[in-house]
Symmetry: C2
Amino acid sequence: MRAPTERQSAPETRDRILDAAEALFVEHGFEATSMRMITGQAGANIAAVNYHFGSKDALIQEVFKRRLTELNRRRLAALDRLEAEAGGAALKPSRIVEAFFGTALEMAADTAHGGHTFMRLLGRTYTEPNGFVRQFLAEEYAEAVERFLAALYRALPDVPREEILWRFHFMMGAMSYAIAGTDALQLFAGKFDDADPERLLPRLMSFLLGGLRAPLPGQGVPGENGKGAPRTQN
Amino acid sequence: MRAPTERQSAPETRDRILDAAEALFVEHGFEATSMRMITGQAGANIAAVNYHFGSKDALIQEVFKRRLTELNRRRLAALDRLEAEAGGAALKPSRIVEAFFGTALEMAADTAHGGHTFMRLLGRTYTEPNGFVRQFLAEEYAEAVERFLAALYRALPDVPREEILWRFHFMMGAMSYAIAGTDALQLFAGKFDDADPERLLPRLMSFLLGGLRAPLPGQGVPGENGKGAPRTQN
DNA sequence: GTATGATTAAAACAATCGTTTGATTGATGA
DNA sequence: TCATCAATCAAACGATTGTTTTAATCATAC
């Protein structure tokens, strides 16, 4: 018999396992976190994971699903709001970027309900080698990426879509680092005097918008390779 | 007896193991890559890793060391060259950024000598949970980060050092994604019509410099939290 | 009280992990 | 020709992995 996925009866253990798994995954990674570590921290029996979720992989998926679905729901709701306010007109790029990345940072700032822990985990997982995790994340993100890219295309009609795509990609990277931040690779350990999370949003947003609005790279004549500086005035 | 680390006698097997490990690590991650997978792909005996390197952890370190030492050596050489040319004057920020990130992208573009594989691995490893890998990377990077930050501080005397630090952090994230790129999280799978690696450098450089030169976020009056848009004109 | 069905518990499963052992190989120099 | 020593090999080590099994426990409805 399979796990009773949609029952209202077992809230306790199931949620404790999800919370424990989330915290341990961010600390040790998926592979290095054993079922015994998870159930131990959750105060549950070793068999509980397979009973409630079916397998370790299914647990990993559920850890992401319960938060990621909500995150992208909020993102799309913010975009809906913007588009309703604009009433057919193109949106300002800054508002689009804010809706996407600001919403993520809002969740990352929520230390009370586990949002912070999860966003650190998510930041790391974008580069996760594990195939099924990647595919699952891509599916969860598909709609949001589609809608936000479309909004950016409309907002920046003069910028080649290829460039917008790349810059959206770069922005994702900057945000991941911003959130994994001071606790991921401690490359700047002890250098941050002011790691106030309140100021992270405006800091990141300035950077992202600066990158998005940067002068386009010189339309590289094929054969003139990339060694030279791109066309900027700095 | 320990491994003969500094002998000229055993080039073959040792290097084949390093190459195989590098390729497998980028594909499956450290934990999910077993000694038997490595030695199998390298055409060596299972005992060869412990003989030549001492342990799996030591092998991981060696995989990074042989490339990372060279990468940061080139970075520092590029910075030395710039400073020699400038003869005491402050450098242009664009040149500093180019010396640091351009050098990395150069190595990433080198598919012939394994540089490409390694840079994909490195991009992922910045967010590696494994403690000893993080510490090792931080040590390898310490000098380069120190010198490049100092150069940026000099080049941008009017920008608070705190902001430069954060933006350097953001740039690292954008670069990691740029390199891990199309094969990491396939969030934009099938969307890139033009993934020409020749054009990646100018594209990334424009973005990074745009972010670095972006208007500073409004000096947030404590209490005015981050929900509002930062002060940009877009 | 008794049956029902979801949940928990202890114990064991086969498989794989990183590492070690002890013997063998093959080239080197005396 | 023999000794030396780095290198390779097959085989096994104990520990840990995710998962399964079987029995016990619990609350609820009849």
